[in-house]
């Protein structure tokens, strides 16, 4: 009897959970479906859900007409460039804070966090004028530096929380067993640090890919990434639903996959280790 009630409850909860999940996911699903419709089917009344003639013409149009790969390449450059630059700065800093902490380490960490809270418009005007004067407006290099700086505090924090979990004792044990410094680094420390570094890279790539204040304000065409490419659809091309959908799917698909794989690390990175 009791078991039946539990089973019924489980089925009820399952239906409810799936309904909520599909409702939240619906705009993405709808964009996916629309991207395979013709423009005419896309605005048909009543809307066609699945039973229409699927076509991939929107995707080929986007690629041939809109120079999609130029923007895609910029997004990749910006995401990877700012992340690599970030690692170069953040790994040593986080390493030092985790393994030789001083009484001031905590203050430095919190101060770094506070720079993340500076709203973009507080520094927007000087950066904008500086970029004009230095000829950096619409350059990938300038934008990489800005994205690196806005994400550096998150990278240091995230790496710090991971490095702090590496037990120091294990180094001593390795030394007792006669490991050389090189072996210590390559065989003991690196394998333990890699997962943390990988998670940090993933989160940073997601954040840089989707950043939409600086990428919209400091670029026009040459350095414009996908965020700006999609913004160019705001009007009147936004009325071409099928093409807008295809462009949107191409812009979000890579990062959606990355995000799905790194959801656990995300919690940690975005809460600065405050929720695990």
């Amino acid at each position: 009897m009791a078991r039946q009630v539990t089973k019924q409850r489980k089925i009820g909860m399952t239906v409810l959970a799936w309904a909520v999940g599909l409702l939240i996911f619906f705009p993405i699903l709808w964009t996916f479906l629309t991207s395979f419709k013709t423009e005419l089917t896309a605005i048909s009344i009543p809307p066609q859900f699945m039973f229409f003639d699927w076509t991939t013409e929107n995707y080929s149009t986007i690629n041939s007409q809109a120079n999609y790969f130029h923007f895609m390449a910029n997004s990749i450059y910006l995401a990877l460039g700012s992340t690599l630059l970030g690692l170069l700065f953040a790994i040593p800093a986080a390493w030092a804070m985790a393994f030789s902490p001083t009484p001031r380490t905590k203050d430095i960490l919190l101060w770094m966090l506070s720079t993340k809270m500076l709203p973009a418009v507080g520094v927007y005007i000087p950066i904008y004028l500086l970029f004009i004067n230095l000829g950096l407006l619409d350059s990938r290099f300038g934008l990489i530096v800005v994205l690196f700086l806005i994400n550096l505090p998150i990278m240091v924090w995230m790496l710090y929380t991971y490095f702090k979990e590496i037990p120091v004792d294990i180094l001593e044990a390795a030394r007792m067993d006669g490991a050389s410094l090189r072996q210590e680094i390559t065989q003991v420390l690196t394998p333990m640090a890699v997962p943390g570094i990988a998670s940090t890279v993933l989160l940073n790539v997601i954040l840089a890919w989707n950043e939409a204040f600086w990428t919209l304000n400091l670029t026009t065409t040459d350095a414009a990434p996908l965020t700006a490419f999609i913004a160019s659809y705001s009007s009147p091309q936004g009325n071409f639903y099928a093409k807008l959908s295809a462009a949107s799917m191409l812009a979000i698909a890579p990062i959606l996959v990355v995000g799905w794989f790194s959801q656990k690390q995300l919690v940690r990175g975005l809460t600065f280790g405050a929720v695990k």
Binding site: I24, P27, I28, P47, M117, I230, L244, S248, L256
Partner: protein
């Protein structure tokens, strides 16, 4: 001796990050502060006289500023209510024994990875368009008059779009916190005859309070600077009905070329964000000791 050496090395390792962030924070901020005291127009950049606090007086007494400030607060509070309330409910649901819970999780967190410009345009055109949008068609199907979202209720529309983007974040973090609640505690309460509601109220909610605080504070920081969603949907309009502080500063600088007033607006935004930041730093700093 060895320790002193290590400290030196450690300092050298931290220096690049600290110096980079120090420059990033202090130099532009000081320049913004400086510009905010100048009568500086992009259309006449030769003459930039010192005007004292005139820009602040102008910015703070501009009726658009009051509207933008109100809109900013409504936007932040509206999104927080939806995401935290909805996040708690969905987290409780996903914490249940459910078939295919991992897939449901993927569906729920997906919007968080959608870039702001895509989220805004998909909602504006394909969901909220009064004629062809899904919501409009569903409403006419039910015999209701469709709403012209972006014109009739622009701020509400933006709240809905932004809440959709942030609901996954709140859910994910609240769920993580919920799953660290020990089953023993709940069982003990059940044995003592506590109902589901009182378990939620006296055990689950207090357990989640830290996570809720973190969600509220982190989201507030991001929500104060919402920009792309407004730029590609309503352009702050109609009038200034959906202009927030960030968008107003952008408008002052780009549309009106008024560097002085825009800088004053930037400083006001910094002060607002700082009020929130102080609480966040305290909350996180407390955790660092533990």
């Amino acid at each position: 001796m060895a320790t002193q050496n290590t400290t030196k090395v450690a300092r050298a390792m931290m220096a690049p990050s600290v110096i980079a962030l120090l420059i990033w924070m202090i130099v532009p901020l000081a320049m913004t502060l400086y510009y905010s005291t100048l009568g500086y127009s992009l259309y006449n950049p030769i003459s930039t006289p010192f005007v004292g606090l005139d820009n602040y007086t102008y910015f703070l007494t501009d009726p658009t500023f009051i509207a933008a400030l109100t809109n900013t607060l409504v936007l932040v509070v509206g999104v927080l209510i939806i995401t935290v309330g909805g996040g708690i409910l969905i987290a409780l649901l996903l914490d249940q024994d459910v078939y295919g819970v991992n897939v449901v999780r993927l569906l729920v967190i997906a919007p968080f990875f959608v870039m702001p410009t895509v989220a805004a345009l998909v909602w504006k055109n394909m969901m909220m368009n009064p004629v062809y949008g899904v919501i409009g068609q569903a409403m006419s199907g039910l015999g209701l008059a469709p709403i012209d979202w972006m014109t009739d209720v622009p701020l509400t529309s933006i709240i809905i779009i932004v809440a959709w983007q942030w609901l996954p974040f709140a859910t994910l973090i609240l769920l993580t916190s919920l799953q660290s609640l020990s089953a023993d505690q709940k069982e003990a309460a059940e044995m003592d005859g506590a109902g589901a509601l009182s378990i939620f109220w006296y055990i689950t909610l207090p357990h989640m309070s830290r996570a809720i605080t973190v969600v509220v504070l982190i989201q507030t920081i991001f929500l104060l600077s919402i920009f792309a969603e407004i730029l590609v949907t309503t352009n702050g309009g109609p009038g200034s009905q959906s202009t927030n502080i960030t968008y107003l500063v952008y408008q002052q600088a780009i549309s009106f070329g008024d560097i002085g007033a825009a800088s004053a607006g930037g400083i006001v935004a910094v002060i607002l964000a700082n009020i929130v930041a102080i609480f966040l730093i305290k909350a996180i700093g407390k955790n660092l000791d533990a």
